[in-house]
């Protein structure tokens, strides 16, 4: 869904909800940045499944920061690669960075980056389902105006 920037935190369940964000910019034929978001419960599940560790007091230690960045790296690269194949463009992602805080605070950097060129952002909600565990996530994709046009053209909605 395409949203006005000030409506994005609400669409994700509220600006004060604890959330992890993994942010990466990308360049190539398609330029912009992407923010992957995991709510608190999903972060806990991820840490239990992958890191054998617990989230304590709403802050990440170095290991957890690295773990989240890596999860983000995999998801974001897979996501960008899918778009790249779908519309046949070259996308080169940068190394992602992670943070855990109130949703509004985690999101605002990405909104600021987007706000430099637009008042709107594209939000894609995603669920990862396993047999036992369920992890919810969201991708917030922000494209430069030229790249928005290119994406729309290639998708045939321009």
């Amino acid at each position: 869904m395409l949203l006005r920037l000030d409506k994005v935190p609400e669409a994700l369940g509220g600006a004060e909800k604890a959330m992890a964000g993994i942010y990466a910019s990308f360049s190539g034929e398609l330029k912009g940045s992407v923010l992957m978001l995991f709510p608190e419960e999903s972060v806990k599940t991820l840490f239990r499944l992958l890191g054998n560790c617990e989230l304590e007091k709403h802050s990440l230690d170095e290991y957890q920061d690295s773990l989240l960045s890596e999860v983000g790296n995999i998801c974001l690269c897979w996501y960008l690669s899918a778009i790249s194949k779908m519309i046949d463009v070259e996308i080169m992602p940068c190394v992602p960075v992670a943070a855990y805080d109130m949703a509004g605070a985690v999101i605002d950097l990405a909104l600021i980056r987007m706000g430099m060129v637009s008042d709107r952002a594209l939000l894609v909600l995603t669920d990862f389902k396993g047999e036992i565990n369920e992890i919810h996530g969201a991708f917030l994709m922000m494209l430069e105006p030229e790249s928005q046009k290119l994406l729309a053209q290639r998708l045939g909605v321009a």
């Binding site: 006005r4 920037l5 000030d6 409506k7 994005v8 935190p9 509220g14 600006a15 004060e16 604890a18 964000g21 942010y23 910019s25 007091k57 709403h58 802050s59 920061d65 940068c94 190394v95 960075v97 992670a98 943070a99 805080d101 109130m102 949703a103 509004g104 605070a105 985690v106 999101i107 605002d108 950097l109 909104l111 600021i112 980056r113 706000g115 430099m116 008042d119």
Partner: protein, 162 residues
């Protein structure tokens, strides 16, 4: 009695008269400008996201998007509902850096926002009497128009008032 709570979204500004509270939730690199006229108990809050307005970058739907121009707009709104601009004081909150190791152009955005807001307030002759800025933690801030007190809280449950 619980007073009216007014949310101020990103890029927005709101003005309210006692009894009411103005709220900015989840500030990261964004900055909240809280203005208060103690004689008329009128408060105003703006939630800015970028430092400087440039040609072709003005925004109709987000009047308080930019730190340099939001102070004038917010003060103007307050005066239009009866505030005395000569006694209005300011408190500013936010401008954190949420992501370690983020690219240099994005790393300083919080700081740049704070500087732009300060310059904008000075240009409009509004005195800043308190601030809680920078750092690496997000903030939620609430202005009580009955007292002018600003309550700031974070995800760790710690709060302080300015």
């Amino acid at each position: 009695m619980e007073s009216l709570l007014i949310h101020v979204g990103i890029g927005q500004l709101r003005v309210a008269r006692n009894p009411a509270r103005l709220l900015c939730v989840g500030l990261g690199s964004c900055v909240a400008i809280a203005l208060y006229d103690p004689s008329n108990k009128i408060g105003g809050m703006a939630h800015i996201m970028l430092p400087h307005e440039m040609a072709g970058r003005t925004s109709e739907s987000m009047p308080a998007k930019f730190g340099d121009t939001a102070p004038k707009k917010l003060l103007g709104e307050m005066v239009s509902v009866g505030a005395n601009p000569y006694v209005v004081i300011a408190k500013i909150v936010g401008g954190a850096n949420m992501f370690k190791n983020v690219s240099p152009e994005m790393k300083d955005i919080g700081h740049e926002n704070v500087e732009a807001v300060k310059e904008g307030l000075i240009r409009n002759h509004v005195k800043i009497i308190a601030e809680d800025i920078g750092g690496t933690i997000g903030r939620t801030v609430e202005l009580d128009t009955s007292t002018g007190r600003l309550l700031i809280r974070n995800i760790h449950g710690r709060s302080r008032s300015l």
